[in-house]
Symmetry: C2
Subunit: 357 residues, 2 copies
């Protein structure tokens, strides 16, 4: 580890002690880390909510717990962006990766009913290039600001020999808050006849990139998809946040029974996670069009549709379970929501999913 | 990303849908991830404190906030183990790395007066070897249990092409709690004449490993140090936790004014972080013996003593600032504590450190 970001020693940039030449010769560039710290500090500070206690020189980030609900639960999640970072590196698109990791984590706690308090990041590379690190952190700061989430701290690590040349990994941890009474999902309230609405994804989000990279090898990444978007733009579109649409549902008085974030495993694995035993999600794949990027990947890879629905989100990034009588309301409040199926009784012991189309 | 650990989909191990062969051919081994999940689940569950809400199938870890102090502050810190993981990999010593990351993070929030609530980990590799992942997680679980800290969640990621063959990275995030009134450090209470006590480190902890690896290249890692310990054992000794000694100080009524965790930058960078302007830490390096492993590394590397004190902790892993009249008390309560220096007035605007010996 070379440097802590928010909690960097106050004197580390202007130390009277020069970076040890011997240590530098072993492959660790302390100055590069310090430059990156300078570049991203302003963007990070801009995410600080009033609850952040930003004592300079502290070793950990401080966050005051004010206005707590009666039965407060913290919800925490750590994730990475996977090999999407490799594709981003090949094309020099670093800022989107920062948005990816924040929104991925944010969506993961949103489905438990939580709202984000703060986020901490981890960026490691064979060699820290300050401009790249700063671009990733700027993307994180942008996504954090949009969500009212403080970018409270993090770590950048230069690890020669652990990462391949030019490679980088980006991970993060989010901590949010929910009252016990607002916790999701609510499987005991779900019943046959409840409706499943899907919210569009902005692309493959952060899943399926080992396959995507393999499929793209030797092909022109700039070639347009059928909607005119260059393939690489569609493939690297940042993971969107579902905070705003979920807040709209809440404000409209729609009783959300469950939310499923469609990540690795696709609709196949992630929808049953929120269902009780005895219910099956019946999803009609003809109810929406898989976006052009997924159709192109399907064409080129030769994978089956069933495989594709396990590897990719196929255009649906979040699934909402509601009562059937709130169908009109959700359509008014959230026109982007697509009715993709419903819950059926099932004889199986485990929650299940079945596809038509 | 292949798998979430605690929040793994309940049906991911026994899914009726086989892992897509095509996806596997792209280098992602879903089954390997699932096996690792099984191996470490029991150890993780054993860390769950009564505040953990372990709903199976949830996307994020849940932690109830009970018995809060009047002005609760969360303290959060993310860190990695750096290239120590590379040396551990070469020698198949995975469990210590798990202890390293937990105790490193724990010590980082301890110096702010916080006690740990929960920890989340991130383990990524070019290829997930379930037994290695399980060993790392067992080490984490052991350190978490010792600290009364829940291992609440985490992520393991298999990233072919991002990590070099056989490489792995281990990072983590800790969240702790402190009352505003118990926050450390207390620079406004520090004054000339206050004493600095050092608590012994258990080895290089997680700093200086790029240099250590370079120095060890081509040498016999099993050769004994002057105390008989094989060199590699001393070099890979897990980072110790300072929770128990700090609790002893507190219970004895010792008014700790500040704690400095000696990490990257050594005593040089980390002690001034907790001091106010106008004070200088005067440290006498003759007041303790640098342990054999540091002396050996110094010999072989040819680095200067000043460099060594910036790269390594040199045997002091935590520094405690107390009033001079509590000297007898700390010696009674904590015989391992070594008086290493005191605070002096300084004409410099910035806090400073000076060495004798």
């Amino acid at each position: 580890m070379t440097e802590q970001k928010v909690d960097s020693p106050p004197n580390s940039c202007n130390s009277v002690v020069p970076p040890p030449s011997l240590y530098a010769a072993a492959g660790v560039d302390i100055e590069a880390g310090n430059r990156a710290v300078g570049l991203m500090k302003a963007a990070v500070r801009a995410t600080f909510t009033p609850d952040v206690r930003a004592d300079v020189g502290s070793f950990g980030g401080l966050f005051a717990l004010n206005d707590l609900p009666s039965q407060p639960l913290l919800v925490a999640s750590t994730d990475g962006v996977g090999t999407k970072v490799k594709l981003a590196a090949q094309h020099g698109r670093w800022q989107g990766i920062g948005q990816d990791i924040v929104n991925h984590c944010l969506n993961d706690i949103l489905v438990q009913g939580a709202r984000p308090l703060f986020f901490l990041d981890y960026i490691a590379a064979d060699k820290l290039v300050p401009e790249k690190v700063a671009a990733v952190v700027l993307g994180m700061a942008e996504a954090c600001r949009a969500a009212g989430c403080a970018l409270l701290g993090g770590e950048t690590a230069e690890m020669p020999g652990v990462y391949t040349a030019g490679s980088c990994d980006v991970a993060g941890t989010i901590v949010g808050l929910v009252d016990q009474d607002a916790l999701l999902p609510r499987p005991h309230e779900m019943q046959a006849g409840d409706l499943l609405f899907g919210l569009p994804s902005s692309g493959p989000h952060t899943n399926g990139y080992s396959l995507i990279r393999q499929v793209l090898t030797g092909r022109d990444p700039q070639q347009p998809l059928e909607d005119g978007t260059p393939l690489i733009d569609a493939a690297l579109a940042p993971h969107r946040s579902y905070l705003a649409p979920v807040q709209l549902l809440e404000e409209a008085g729609i009783a959300v029974k469950g939310l499923a974030h469609i990540t690795g495993g696709g609709l196949v694995d992630n929808v049953p996670r929120i269902l009780p035993a005895g219910l099956r999600a019946q999803i009609d794949r003809r109810s929406w069009h898989a976006p052009p990027v997924f159709r192109r990947l399907l064409d080129w890879s030769g994978m089956t549709l069933d495989e594709a629905y396990r590897v990719f989100n196929m255009g649906i990034g979040m699934v909402v379970v509601i009562r059937a009588d709130q169908k009109g309301l959700i359509r008014n409040v959230l026109p982007e929501a697509i009715q993709i199926g419903s819950l059926d009784a099932s004889a199986k012991a485990e929650p299940d999913v079945a596809f038509e189309g």
